[in-house]
């Protein structure tokens, strides 16, 4: 269970508060969606949870199954079960996708004190998972995300998620830049990982992703905190009316 309590975060370099008392709980097995206007702090939240530099937590807490996420290094958070699917996956020339995946999987296993996967075990696993995401051998051989199309990059994120088997997945605008078919493929990949225990926090601007990944709860975020929480119907309301009414309600 992910539990964020009254989280206040500012930029490290300047005196600008981005998250202003964010509180959010995602119980095990549930899918929550976060929607909100641009600049409301959705991506900042995902970066702060996963440990990116450049932010300063001034107060509040964030825990995953009771473990303090904010006290850990990014790789420790990953090993503890947190996964962020990036809005803009990074291209890394010179690092083969396969090498990257194997290093990530085995680094996490090592951090958790588990046996590392042998090359053969890993290969078998990655081939099976890549196939269901229509990721071919060539994409696995190429350098990480280099020359990948928008859809390939997002599928590659989901492949990493499938290989790393996290407890808590944050999807930061995974639908951005995808056509309908690519979005369906990604959504299928995500749905395949829903097992009743794994939790998801889906950040999106558009209701259409939520047609494919059905959320249990929808949160509306504005100005650095959650201003409204409801069921899937809340996403439809936003789709029809925009954020203006909701923002007016809390103002």
């Amino acid at each position: 269970m992910l539990e964020i309590k009254d989280l206040h975060v500012k930029l490290a370099e300047e005196d600008k508060e981005i998250l202003k008392g964010l509180s959010l709980t995602v119980p095990s097995g549930e899918v929550h969606a976060i929607m909100g206007p641009n600049g409301s702090g959705k991506s900042t939240m995902s970066y702060v949870l996963s440990g990116k530099e450049g932010y300063e937590v001034t107060s509040g807490s964030a825990t995953l199954d009771g473990v303090d996420l904010l006290a850990m290094e990014p790789e420790e958070r990953a090993a503890a079960g947190l996964f962020l699917a990036f809005q803009y996956p990074v291209e890394i020339p010179g690092v083969g996708n396969m090498t990257f995946l194997r290093t990530a999987v085995n680094s996490q296993r090592k951090l958790r004190g588990e046996e590392e996967l042998s090359a053969a075990e890993f290969l078998k696993l990655v081939r099976a998972k890549a196939k269901s995401l229509k990721i071919d051998a060539d994409m696995l051989k190429r350098p990480v995300n280099v020359g990948f199309s928008g859809g390939e990059k997002k599928r590659n994120e989901i492949l990493q998620m499938a290989m790393l088997e996290p407890k808590m997945c944050i999807l930061d605008e995974t639908d951005s830049g995808l056509d309908v078919d690519a979005m369906k493929l990604v959504a299928e990949g995500v749905n395949a990982l829903r097992d009743g225990k794994r939790s998801f926090l889906v950040i999106t601007h558009y209701q259409r992703l939520l047609d494919h990944i059905k959320p249990d709860v929808v949160h509306i975020m504005a100005a650095g905190r959650i201003i409204k929480t409801g069921g899937p119907e809340l996403a439809l309301e936003v789709e029809h009316n925009g954020y203006a009414d909701l923002l007016a309600e809390v103002a």
């Binding site: 996963s50 440990g51 996956p89 890394i92 010179g94 290093t103 990530a104 680094s107 996490q108 951090l111």
Partner: protein, 434 residues
């Protein structure tokens, strides 16, 4: 006036240096070559910091009559290229050690030593020994190459008449803390011949190596070098090459550690439709002692439709210095030239520096030439991406260092050799992980 005075001082320095040198004796052909080299050296004088191509690298330690001693290093890594099927020739402090070497014999290849050939009055190498070096003295003078030609008694004279069945590998070991190695190789690839030439090891406290390579029409020369790890060693190398038509020339060097390494390349594409690549991967850590590594490349396109590539990648940390001076000269009439040059440094801290001087000089109107020089730090976005997947910071940084260098390693065609170099580099990265 000032220029005349400076030249007089350089000539005086050359005369003084030569008065302390042992000038070798030999047969007619080699004596003529050495005397010509002496004459060139007297005329040019010794280099100084004020010379255009010595502004970034101090020549002093390469000029002194005796070298400063350098502690011998016990290298426990597996010998470079040891797993390859090769003809291995071992030099200790720049002197061929026959007892440790394979026999100088292979199909399609004639190999003799300079020492042996120098006793004869006539030898095929007379057409090349000091000849390519002489041609390489213009438009930029390289006096220390002439000093090498004048004084070298050690080296290999290799004539390849067909496909060499195995690579020739030269392993340079050290035996003496103050060993001064002066080695001069001459390699002639006859029409359609092919040779892979491997060099590895620390060589000497101070090494001066000149290699003259003549690549005839349709021939293919592949050179791979790793300079040894001994922290204090110094090396000045010159590779002079003349390339005929439909021929291929490739040279890759790996430099890790060493107080001073300067590798000069003087490559002339004389024929048409040929290819030349010069590449290097460099990893230097100032915490091991001073590290200064310099690649100075001069590629001349004289023929038509030739392609040349220069690819240099340097990772530097803790006060290490990297230098790249690379020139592409396109002669009048060298149409359809395709020249490419890239030099990039990854600085792992603010104490290290990279000095780059890319140059293009083009005298033909139908050519494509490009060059780029960049300096950067570890990409924070890439680092975070790797860490967010569970890769610890140290390992993530090491991966990015190796990824950065991989572009230079990709210039190596042979997978087994590339893997061998990659392993050596991984060991360096592991040892120097921050």
């Amino acid at each position: 006036m000032r220029r005349a005075q400076a030249l007089a001082a350089k000539r005086e320095a050359a005369a003084e240096r030569l008065s302390r040198a042992d000038l070798p004796k030999g047969g007619a052909w080699v004596t003529a070559a050495r005397e010509n080299a002496l004459e060139r050296l007297h005329r040019m004088g010794l280099p100084t910091r004020r010379d255009e191509y010595w502004r970034f690298t101090r020549p002093d330690a390469l000029i002194t009559a005796q070298t400063a001693p350098v502690p011998l290093m016990v290298d426990e890594d597996a010998p470079q290229f040891g797993e390859l099927d090769r003809l291995n020739l071992v030099f200790v402090d720049g002197v061929l050690d026959a007892a440790q070497s394979d026999a100088l014999a292979m199909d399609n290849v004639e190999i003799t030593t300079l020492e042996q050939a120098a006793t004869q009055d006539i030898h095929w190498a007379r057409d090349l020994f000091g000849v390519l070096e002489t041609q390489g003295q213009a438009p930029v003078e390289r006096p220390l190459a002439a000093l090498n030609t004048a004084t070298a008694t050690q080296g290999l004279l290799i004539r390849v008449t067909g496909q060499a069945p195995r690579p020739i590998s030269v392993t340079y070991l050290r035996g003496n803390e103050a060993g001064d190695g002066v080695v001069h190789h001459v390699i002639r690839l006859e029409k359609g011949a092919a040779l892979t030439f491997l060099e590895s090891g620390p060589a000497a406290a101070r090494l001066s190596a000149v290699t003259e390579v003549d690549v005839a029409d349709g021939a293919s020369f592949n050179h791979i070098r790793t300079q040894g790890r001994d922290h204090g060693r110094r090396a000045l190398t010159h590779l002079f090459a003349r390339i005929g038509s439909d021929a291929s020339f490739k040279s890759f060097s790996l430099t890790v550690n060493g107080a001073l390494s300067r590798n000069e390349y003087v490559i002339t594409l004389e024929g048409d439709d040929s290819h030349a690549t010069v590449s290097g991967a460099v990893a230097g850590d100032g915490n091991d002692g001073p590290f200064h590594q310099d690649d100075t490349v001069f590629i001349t396109h004289a023929g038509e439709r030739c392609e040349s590539r220069q690819v240099f990648k340097k990772v530097l940390r803790n006060g290490a210095t990297g230098v790249f001076q690379g020139k592409i000269l396109v002669s009048p009439g060298a149409q359809k030239t395709d020249g490419y040059q890239i030099s990039q440094a990854l600085l792992l801290d603010e104490d290290s520096q990279f000095l780059a001087k890319p140059e293009l000089e083009i005298h033909a109107d139908d050519v494509a030439c490009s060059h780029g020089a960049t300096v950067g730090a570890i990409d924070d976005e890439a680092l975070f991406y790797l860490m967010s997947r569970g890769v610890p910071r140290r390992l993530a940084q090491d991966m990015l260092v190796l990824a950065f260098l991989s572009e230079a390693l990709d210039e190596i065609d042979n997978d087994a050799i590339r893997d061998d170099i990659q392993t050596r580099l991984e060991l360096w990265v592991e040892r120097h992980s921050a």
